[in-house]
Amino acid sequence: MSETPSTTDIHDIELRSSIDRSLRHPVMFFFASGSIWLVLGILLGFIASAKKHAPEFLDCISWIDAGKVDAAHLSALVYGWGCQAAFGMIIWLMARLTRKECTASGIILVAGHLWNLIIMVGIVTILAGQGSGVTLMAFPSYIWVSLLVVYLMITLWSLVQFQVRDAGHVYVSQWYLLAGLLWFPWILGSAIFFVFASEGHPLMAAAVAAWFKSGVFLLFLLPTALASAYYLAPKVTGRPVYSYNVALFGFWALAFLGPWAGFQRLMGAPIPQFLPYAGAAAMVLILIPALAVGLNILKTIQDQKELAAQSPSLRFTTSGIVLFIIFGVLSFGLNTVPAIKMTQFSYTGYGLDILAIYGVFSLCAFGAIYFIVPRVTRREWLSSRFITWHFFLSLYAVASIVCCAIIGGIIQGQGMEDLSQPFGTMAERSSSYGWGITIAWAFLLVANFVFCLHLLLMWARLGRRSSHPTLLQNHHPESPHGPEGEIDNIGSVNA
């Protein structure tokens, strides 16, 4: 553990370990089952991507044919992995930050099992061709309603913890956690009501579904990831957040812009015309919170580059934050009206989605998992090599997916605008980029298979019993053979 015990904070350490103990089962359950969904979601993503350029691939199995498998892929990734990783992070971070033990871990654990069951039913329904038929909300309506109920069972306790906290300073991570906790039921409830429950215009149903999909990232997964980054960066480096005011500004900028985004997917469709423009403007301006939050966190860990290289949590979190800045820049460039005109119906949107879900959210979530799991299991990670593989394969694979999708999408869009070319030529032009995406998914599958295995071993409490965290690099051993004993963990107490 990162703290050296002294007489003054011995009570603190006891409190922290009792909080960790109270949350061990739900947190580990969310992370472990989330990582299994992650592997499954990536496998489905590989199949879905392969089918886009090689339609005969696995053609004999009709329940994973193209179209259905796309929906199953994104649903598994977002609701199986993303939401569950977020739940694990939320309940642990909120308990640590409010300094309250969790008293409802049994209920949370039961709700976690229900969540998995519902997602499983939902994915099977999609693959059986019995989904809702709404492109961005593919689960049938009863699945969404049950997810909302189970969500409340999982997160209500974190709200209660916040409410009964000891008076005092509310830390920036808590704003993000609290905001995400409140936004998610609001957007999900609205989406259920406007898409499924009430008879409206079919175009508005499509618009609300697009808004919901955008909201799941910008208003739930992203705030959770940023809460974790704001927690880990100061914690691991032992320095305060660079600027409180910039943190405040970044938070309100996201809160102000996030709820408007999503409608840009319907640019040109006959809905009230300001909606797609508002969505596009919000997505362009996302660069502002991305820069504010990103630079604030990067400034916090500046001068601690060695630490960022050694500590898995900090390395993943930093990469996630850098990718958030890149997301802001790309979103700025790709959501101007001429760019949307070109790339609206191409791979580009998918590239941005994957950058958001895997690049930004998941890397931050991995950072949090590498930090939290040793604390709740009281075991250290088994292998720094596994973590290194996971890191580099993840980073390069997600970068390849995003580059291929965005460049391929632009080429696709250019082909579409070139009216002298027949449609078929344009589809062929982008297919090599489709190959690139498929191959990158295969690498991502390997990375997360390693991660999932590592995490499951930790869940089984097979981690190292050691007081030294697993770090990624050994620096300057005094002799060529290093000192006696724990060769892997020389000279650092931080993780």
Binding site: K51, P55, A66, M204, A278
Partner: protein, 242 residues
């Protein structure tokens, strides 16, 4: 920041967009009626076959919208009207009127959700039914049969327009789950004209297949032979290649 300020801020930053971008547009769009074709009050009626909503749902469930769009964007948002015959039939000796037009809100009536589409890995389908019917007219394979053959094996059917096989180009999945294999004597008129049928068996579309094909053939977003109202027109000149 106090908790009260936080909650008020949340209500303002989220509540306002929720109200102005979701609730009010939803209410506004809900009351929308079919546009009038002329001043005498004749309404534009898409005149689509019944059971559209079920076919539309199957279209979504099968994930067609992942690769096919259903929107003809106005020229400020894209040059869809000028791309092939996505927006309607162009003037030709068999077809005196140019019926291309942009999408209207009423084009999606009777569907639960408008399938705007995610990407255009395949062509836009706004006027798919119109195109297939027009080009399959008088050929030995009926429009309906063509759709079935395409759904069953997209790379095994000749393109309706130029009679060319499209094996290398099409990446459309074959939706075999929409078809059943039955003994020949049960097949009836809908049996697919496949060359590689198993001895004594035929392939026929099942209920889902029929509804999806019915929906696809109902995709006709031009003017149904009526002259184009003035305010629906757009620049007929295709933009010059840059």
């Amino acid at each position: 920041m106090t908790f009260k300020a936080f909650i008020l801020g949340m209500l303002a930053t989220f509540g306002l967009p929720w109200l102005f971008a979701i609730v009010l547009p939803f209410a506004e769009m809900r009351g929308l009626e079919s546009p009038q074709l002329d001043e005498e009050g004749e309404y534009y009626d898409p005149g689509r076959a019944e059971r559209i909503s079920e076919g539309s749902k199957i279209y979504g469930q099968e994930g067609c919208a992942v690769c096919h769009s259903q929107v003809v964007r106005p020229t400020y948002a894209g040059w869809d009207v000028h791309r092939g015959e996505w927006a309607g039939l162009r003037a030709s000796p068999d077809q005196p009127d140019d019926t291309r037009r942009e999408t209207l809100p009423s084009d999606y009536f009777d569907e639960a959700v408008a399938h705007i589409g995610e990407a255009r890995n395949g062509p836009d389908l706004s006027n798919f039914g119109r195109r297939v019917e027009f080009y399959q007219k008088g050929k030995e394979i009926s429009a309906e049969q063509w759709v079935y053959l395409h759904l069953y094996n997209p790379r095994g059917v000749k393109n309706y327009k130029d009679d060319q096989f499209i094996p290398a180009k099409s990446t459309c999945p074959s939706k075999r789950s929409l078809f059943d294999q039955v003994p020949l004597y049960q097949a009836g008129d809908d049996a697919l004209a496949l060359e590689a049928n198993e001895e004594g068996f035929a392939v026929i579309p099942n209920d889902r297949g029929r509804r999806l094909a019915g929906y696809l053939l109902s995709l006709k977003k031009d003017t149904l032979g009526q002259p184009l109202p003035k305010d629906w027109t757009f620049t007929r000149e295709a933009p010059k290649a840059e």
